[in-house]
Symmetry: C2
Subunit: 226 residues, 2 copies
DNA sequence: TAAGTTAGGTGACTTTGTCACGGTACTGCT
DNA sequence: AGCAGTACCGTGACAAAGTCACCTAACTTA
């Protein structure tokens, strides 16, 4: 819990330019806090929220979990973003329909829901930022839905691996377990293992414990479906 | 195309109470139109939109379509609603990621995007209405995703049938083809046929051409998964 | 170095999706 | 009435994906 919100203000504003207009008065509400997050802290599905969360540092993974224990990652939110599924439950006044898990230590700005609502009313830039966040996630979710329903796992895995290499600065060695991949893509670990084995047999990738090396990126990309 | 928008105003406002505040001046923009929709008119994926659409009468089905021709219904919008996936592309300034199909003759209010943006800025109630629309659809989409990824088709079909009976005033005779059901649920017609056949063999339902009769609603409901 | 934990492999099976047909009921036309 | 064309449904054979049970290999830690 932050001792002094105002110390963080410059950082907050540089991450969220849309908050630049907020008056000093408005920052002085007692409920607003900067909170340090611990990894693996989980916010469960179906709760009513007291705060809107804006991420300053670190990442949060939004996911769904099934009765049978299978899991799927919906999307991640990083520094400078807010979580529309949570916001949705605030502005739509309903429970929210997913779980969130903090992945790294980090910092978040917590704004009490009534103040949040007030700000979206009174501050144009902030409001537009929230609108865009919604829009972005709706698109992401709709594409995810498309992938799940229409694409082959081979294609989806390939796509995920290729994306990962980009994030890893085009290194062709990825440090990830089959288990995690399964959770990312919403399938079973065995399915991932089998499919990866298939790719290894074609010399497209090379497997070792907790590591995947891309041997033939072109081939991998060719599996990605429209 | 409407000869006189102002004739429609009382109806518009009673359907969209959030539009009650809009000033007469603001209604006088030349671009705003009431348009009659023809069934099966389709708006394809990936277009930039010139108008925000508010439905006055009739329904519009939003769906995704795959390369292989399979299709899935994301949700429907009815009188008194707006389409967040379209709105999303307006406020998020991106292409929109689904197709829309008019299902019945009806009426829509078309508001040019710049006017729409202006209204969301200046009119609080309207803005909150749009926010809630977003929130609602995000929840719907996230639940759909959950169903597709985690639930059995038997469960999904059962759920859909039970829902349909409610909409049909608890009549236990549904007029629907396997083909349509497949499109609703995003699967193949054969899968639907097989599953329904299974339910018929257990005397849970009775099949005839273009018609499904529910014989044992309790059994049907028991298949619906959490 | 032994024990425990995490990661990965595999075979057998079920469910779901795909492909290729074939049959049956309706519709409209002559 | 007869016929062609279309929409709807059934089905078998197969492929792809998910489930279950169990195993082995590799790291970790005491």
């Amino acid at each position: 819990m932050s001792s002094n919100l105002f110390e963080y203000l410059p950082r907050i504003v540089s991450l969220f330019p849309s908050l630049a207009d907020i008056s000093e008065q408005d920052w002085k509400h007692s409920g607003i806090q900067v909170i340090e997050t611990e990894p693996n802290h989980i916010i469960e599905e179906g709760q009513f929220l007291e705060y809107a969360i804006l991420i300053l540092e670190g990442t949060v993974r939004m996911y769904k979990i099934s009765g049978g224990g299978r899991e799927i990652t919906l999307y991640r939110i990083h520094g400078g973003e807010c979580c529309p599924l949570m916001t949705s439950s605030i502005l739509g006044e309903s429970e929210y329909e997913a779980s969130a898990c903090v992945e790294t230590t980090g910092l978040v700005l917590a704004v009490p829901v009534d103040i949040f609502r007030d700000w979206t009313d009174r501050y144009r830039k902030f409001r537009q930022f929230i609108f865009k966040s919604f829009a972005k996630r709706i698109v992401v979710m709709s594409n995810l839905l498309d992938s799940i329903n229409f694409k082959s796992i081979r294609g989806r895995i390939s796509e995920h691996l290729v994306q990962m290499t980009k994030q890893a600065g085009n290194s062709n060695t990825l440090h990830i377990t089959h288990d995690i991949l399964a959770i990312e893509l919403g399938t079973a670990r065995e399915v991932i293992s089998r499919t990866l084995k298939g790719l290894e047999n074609e010399a497209t990738i090379k497997l070792s414990r907790g590591k995947i090396t891309i041997m033939n990126q072109i081939a991998l990309e060719s599996y990605i479906e429209a």
